[in-house]
């Protein structure tokens, strides 16, 4: 086991430089350290000007997504020991504008997420007196996987389509739309279809599949999009053959 490891980090200080540069820190190597621990060590002991986002340290908040050696990762769940002997390269997520160092601007994602209406839509609410909307374990199982998304945006960073076509709604937002579409309590599928079947919706996806590979929560956004394509296409064929049946 080495006693130290080199951490090469992207620096971008807009007041000082026009383009990002690299800075290498030699940090102590500890078996139980993740990349985020190493960044915190740098921030606390070596260079307080380093900027990055983090919060929960346990893969729940989705704030600490960065690229480690070229792959989008949650840095709180990425052990230094998997990247020996180093150097370990830490970069901001791809395709989002970099605000400073490892911090990216996520406005685009938040805007798209809101567009797909990720909440339960009811055409008619039943009166409170009738109690809650019940759901069987099977009905829960139908969407549970997609509900695990923590909005970490690693899937956007892994998706070359999002890089090439910035209008693309993107993997996580579509997976979350599908999370509500598959929910037995929801009645908003038709409303979401309008947004998702547009040019920048599901049909932009050419199924690279990397979103699913990098997802730390096993949400499988690529699967969600393909399933949505299948149901969208079936709906379209039905409306063509039985125009009165789909209304």
């Amino acid at each position: 086991m080495p006693s130290t490891v080199a951490l090469t980090v992207t620096r971008y200080r807009p007041e000082m430089e026009a383009e990002p540069t690299w800075e290498t820190y030699e940090i102590p190597f500890r078996k139980d350290w993740v990349v985020l621990d190493a960044l915190n060590h740098v921030k606390d002991n070596v260079d307080g000007t380093l900027s990055y986002r983090w919060s929960c340290r346990m893969g729940v908040c989705g704030s600490c997504g960065m690229k480690v050696n070229g792959t989008p990762k949650l840095t709180c769940a990425t052990f230094l020991s998997d990247y020996l002997p180093g150097p370990i390269r830490v970069e901001p997520l791809d395709y989002f504008p970099v605000v400073r160092d490892l911090v990216v601007d996520i406005t685009d994602f938040v805007r798209k997420l809101k567009q797909v209406k990720p909440w339960i839509i009811r055409t008619e609410e039943k009166p409170l007196g009738e109690g809650e909307y019940l759901q069987t374990p099977d009905q829960l199982d139908a969407y549970k996987q997609f509900s695990m998304c923590i909005n970490c945006m690693l899937c956007y960073s892994a998706c070359p389509i999002y890089g090439l076509e910035p209008g693309f709604i993107g993997p996580a937002a579509i997976a979350l739309a599908q999370r509500y579409n598959m929910d037995s309590r929801d009645q908003g599928a038709a409303e979401r279809l309008n947004i998702l079947s547009e040019h920048d919706g599901i049909w932009q996806c050419t199924f690279v599949g990397e979103c699913t590979k990098v997802c730390p929560k096993h949400v499988d956004p690529a699967g969600a999009i393909q399933q949505y394509k299948l149901s969208g296409a079936t709906h379209w064929v039905k409306s063509l053959l039985l125009p009165w049946g789909t209304r």
Binding site: Y12, P14, E19, P20, G70, D94, Y95, P97, V98, V99, R100, D105, D138, D141, P160, G163, L164, T206, F207, V208, G209, E210, T212, K213, D220, A222, G223, Q226, Q227, K229, L230
Partner: protein, 138 residues
């Protein structure tokens, strides 16, 4: 202040990296993806040759003989060999992706991926076998 609501005073100077034309060489799965997309060209090529064959068939035995002779040219044989590899790659990669799009539930449980892929391959073999039987019977 400007009346334009989109104008922000002291807007941060974001850095936007442009996507390289060579993005698909950055990692192996991107390259495999682009190759998979390219297979469609060869599938289309095969379809065109097939249409050409049907056309020759309708024009009588002589035209069909000519068509077959043309196919035996080394250039065509070479292109066909390459097309075959790509069409095979096309079929295999798409079969392997089917469980992503098809979620089949039986008795409340999701059918495992291998069963969906397996049934696709089985159907492929069955149809190929049936076609081979019809063609080779005589």
């Amino acid at each position: 202040m400007s009346a334009d609501p989109h104008y922000t005073l002291y807007h941060p100077r974001w850095y936007r990296r442009r996507v390289s034309v060579w993005w698909w060489l950055q990692n192996r799965s991107y390259t495999r993806f682009v190759l998979r997309e390219l297979t469609s060209v060869f599938v289309a090529f095969f379809a065109v040759v097939y249409l050409w064959q049907l056309r020759a068939l309708t024009q009588g035995p002589e035209a069909y003989g000519q068509f077959l002779a043309r196919l035996k040219a080394p250039l065509f044989e070479g292109v066909h060999a390459v097309a075959f590899v790509f069409v095979l790659f096309h079929a295999i990669t798409w079969f392997n992706l089917t469980p992503k799009a098809m979620v089949v539930r039986m008795r409340g449980k999701r059918v495992p991926d291998w069963a969906i892929v397996g049934s696709n391959y089985a159907a492929w073999l069955l149809v190929s076998g049936a076609v081979a039987f019809i063609l080779l019977r005589g």
